[in-house]
Amino acid sequence: MPKGGVNAPVPVAPEATPAVDPRLLVRQEGVKGYLGEFRRRVTSGELGSLPVVLALIIIWAVFGSLNSSFLSAQNLSNLSQQIVGTGMIAIGVVFVLLLGEIDLSVGSVSGLCAAIFAVLNVTHGVNQWVALLSALVGGALVGLIQGLFFAKVGVPAFVVTLAGNLGWNGLMLQVLGASGTVNLSGKDIVSRLYSTIYGEQAAAYGAAAVGVLLFLGASVLDARRRQAAGVPSRPVLDIALRTVALAIIAFLAAYTLNQYKGLPLALLIFLIFIVVLDFVLRRTSYGRQVFALGGNIEGARRAGINVSWIRISVFTICSTMAAVGGLFLAAQIQSASQTSGGGNLLMNAIAAGVIGGTSLFGGRGSTWSALLGALVIGSIQSGMNIQGLSNAIQFMITGAVLLAAVVVDSLARRTQQAAGRA
């Protein structure tokens, strides 16, 4: 009878050979090894999100040199809030992109959910929490319906969500009714999402410290467990360097925010969403299965993954994140209007994911790309606003900068391709 299970199914042959490969270029210990490894990565293009960060730095430097107020604490603080709405939607889009699919309805869904909240809370005087929940559930339902059509009926996601884009926009107009724009009360939970800024110095620094410590703790624990189990682990130097880099960024950001008003609640929530969902994607079975589907659907199906369920759930997550983003956008203008969810929102949200490094073809990406991409797009917009050019010129420059931001990344990848890692 077969014995086994996860723990002992394979009859191990006595003559097993060790799998260490002499051709693997093991990194030397110490700083020198670290630098060598870094040089190797640069030349072979394995830089992860470094090129985008580089592009971002260039964008900031250029706009900062053109107009000093761009790099002012006030503008950066505003920027950190302005990106949240689009960024939240982009997180959801990243999930869908990981499947290799697309969701064209996120703009309309964000508008619809903002309208649901505003009309329930303001027009009908429904309790704010109930209204909030209704908006989120509304978003989730939309995603569920779209997911069902995609996964169960087999309509291409592009068409389902394109139809949704129209349909939910119509529903939003219907919900808002003839009077159109509904202003929020300014005292409800959604309005406060945007207006709350923790002014005490301690808040921003505290958040930065917590983040850095969490990272350090997790890294050290992981390295310990790995050493104990005898599998390769990250060297101490590596952990130290990463922690220091993170600390510099975090405390610099906290310092800047404190220079103006403090830590915006919106930014804090955005970061929490990113970290939590990143964890879901990288550290849970669910996330693993999402990546698998993006890599090879047939392979995932044969591995016994419930493909329909993953697809439906991902579309539900995406629409729910669109709802969250929509609430932030409504908070930003303190109202739900007929233009909510329209304009460039859809393209910006998708572009944020793609620019941040998530592949359109599925199976490669991270929620952090939503942050990076939203920052790139937000910075260009903010810089353009400060410049005050005519729209014709502004469009052209925005297009050019967008392209340039990704060229850096593409060139890095080309090296990588030449190095055979395509």
Partner: protein, 344 residues
Amino acid sequence: NESSGGGGSSGSASGGAVGAVRIGLLLPETKTTRYEQFDRPLIEQKIKELAPQAQIDYYNANENATTQQTQVDTALTKGDKVLILDAVDAKSIQSSVQKAHDAGVKVIAYDRLAQGPVDAYVSFDNKKVGELQGQALVAAVGDKAGAGSIIMINGSPTDPNAAEFKAGAHSAIDGKLKIGKEYDTPNWDPNNANQEASAAITAIGGPNVVGVYSANDGMAAGIATALKAAGLSVPLTGQDAQLDGVQRILAGTQTMSIYKPFKPETDVAAQMAVTLAQGKTLDPSLVPTTVTNGSGNQVPANLITPIVLTKDNIKTTVVADGLYTVAQICTPDYADACKAAGLQ
């Protein structure tokens, strides 16, 4: 909040030099030509005239309410002391107006009456515009009114201003003309308007169409071709006095447009801005009336009457005001029409 932004420079203001006054000009979109063609240069010119050292920051929201609110943030960041604000969405801009007000920045509602604590208002009345269009259409249809119905093609359903034009037009048309089909046109798209008109003509039947209400000149372009394709020649309205609209009026394919003499409006706005920037109060001649905005604030205002533009007054309005030269209007294709109208 008494220490408004003008405070710092008001000392030297008496000497005539207004220091480095910063004024923010926030316009809503680029799809209609007037904003970048007229409003912006005219306002900038007038402000420079009144306060040569003033610095003007220009923003265009591209029809996006959220963009506009981030632009208000940017304006506050850059230290603008007065905002001339043409709201994308007069209602939802309220929070930004409040924000500016709280920062001691004066807000002039330009063209559209924004909600919130606005300091001054200069405009053509959107509802009035619709009314004038409607009246002109009723007049042009005349005694054919009983013979058929009209087609109404309104602006974008997602544009709050379109709703105001629509309401104004209905107040003039309802009861006088029969409305056969009515459309809201997403994005004010001329090609969409063209298809809507074609469909309506088919549905109503060509001979039964006695006139078409078009909310602006852009859509009128598409509607005019649909009418031509169906072999119809009926009254057609418009708005904005765009060059192509003027040409169509000359050629007889469009009946009227609404000309908003931008110069008076921009001049008033510039004067208001400079005055407020200098920390002075507005002269009553600049704000003869008061209006109440959507959020219940009393706003000193200056309302300028829009003009109905027809073949007969092209010369005395858009040409006389320097909006277009005769050469611009009378391209070879329109030479004959120009002669007939006495333009050349």
